[in-house]
Amino acid sequence: MALRLLWASRVASHLRISVAQRGFASAVLKDLKYADSHEWVKIEGNKATFGITDHAQDHLGDVVYVELPELGHSVSQGKSFGAVESVKATSDINSPVSGTVVEVNKELTESPGLVNSSPYEQGWIVKVELSDAGEAEKLMDSDKYSKFCEEEDAKH
């Protein structure tokens, strides 16, 4: 746990955002928005960067492959656009916002494990040009997402 919090603090410091500490639970970064399918998004003007959360990567296990979309591909909020493979499963990645893919993280082709080791930083998956900036209002902030994860885990 101590290492995880240290890692989260370092990331937060680099990104100049603060960390919500959740004890033994997965790291959740403030100033990001979160989807209920466990993707995070960072919005900067008309562009957004997203990936899967620490909660997601922890539950998925070691990621061995990331299926990336093509540049120019249209993504829609809540709809799948790619997948990760871990253990024996392919798991959909759903887009937290709508837009057009302008960049994909090619590092993930050779190093899919970045999604596990650095889900909010080196493990980012796509960058899009937003088609509807207002959609971000539908997403959860860090406090709501933390609570959401706790409630989800408590059910099992």
Binding site: G61, Y65, S80, E85, V87, K88, A89, T90, S91, H156
Partner: protein, 260 residues
């Protein structure tokens, strides 16, 4: 179990489709369609497939996994499926069981690989009760330390599929089309295919396995038999969502050439 009794128990409904000898490509296309465009739970049992076929997982690379020369020479079909996991060669003796579930209908199972895998191990534990040595070992079904069932999954927003190919019997020659994969379970211990796998027929009667599997599923769901020809009424239009596909000869030739 009567429908009224099942309702009393509050068991969710599951449609049961029993197939025989359906081509594995057709089976996988059906599964992908049911996973993504149906809201029902499904159990699909396919008793064998028509021709020996190699089936790789989503991220499978032919050059790494297959002996491409013999595969192309013998014209063995190669499929890349929509689920994860490894490579198998299936034929008329293989038994396939696929379970497609709404996550809310299996509330004690989190929609993540390890949770679904553990649930499946428990279900098949009922099937193989009394047969010594059965266990879910890492992600395989084994008797002792020999694998007889390979698993794979696909997880989408509110649903998941867990499907298994059971090695009822196998042709040693067919195993020769597969290379030793780079990612193997720890318990494999560098054994080649013939030392690593076993034949399910040495442990249980075929019909016994099928009936016990259906019974085990029926302990958690109310089963309703559905014929293949009636499935269209349960799904939406496909919208070209098939990712499972047959690799072309050109693709295999290119894979081979790229490694030379």
């Amino acid at each position: 179990m009567s429908l009224s009794r099942a309702k009393d128990l509050g068991l969710p409904l599951m449609n049961l489709v029993r197939l025989k000898g359906i081509p594995i490509l057709e089976q996988l296309h059906l599964e992908e369609r049911l996973l993504r465009t149906s809201s029902h739970n499904w159990c699909i049992v396919n008793d064998g497939t028509n021709v020996p076929t190699i089936v790789m997982g989503m991220s499978g690379k032919p050059a790494q996994l297959l002996e491409l020369g013999p595969v192309m020479e013998d014209r063995v079909p190669v499929i890349k499926r929509f689920t994860g996991g490894g490579t198998v060669i299936v034929d008329k003796s293989t038994l396939f069981v696929s379970l497609i579930c709404n996550k809310d209908d299996v509330p004690n199972v989190q929609p993540y690989p390890r949770s679904v895998m553990a649930w499946s191990g428990s279900l098949y534990g009922e099937v193989f009760k009394g047969i010594n040595g059965f266990q879910l070992r890492e992600n395989d079904y084994v008797f002792g330390d020999r694998k007889f069932g390979g698993n794979a999954q696909s997880i989408i927003r509110n649903r998941w599929i867990h499907h298994t190919s059971f090695l009822w019997d196998y042709n040693v020659r067919n195993m020769g089309y597969l290379k030793l994969p780079s990612r193997v379970p720890q318990y494999r211990l560098e054994r080649d295919h013939t030392d690593f796998v076993c034949r399910m027929k040495d442990y249980i009667e075929r019909s016994d396995f099928v009936e016990k599997t259906i019974k085990a599923v029926g302990n958690q769901f109310t089963l309703k038999q559905v014929n293949l020809k009636d499935i269209d009424s349960y799904t939406e239009a496909e919208n070209n969502l098939k990712t499972t596909r047959l690799l072309t000869l050109e693709e295999l030739e290119k894979a081979m050439a790229d490694t030379s």
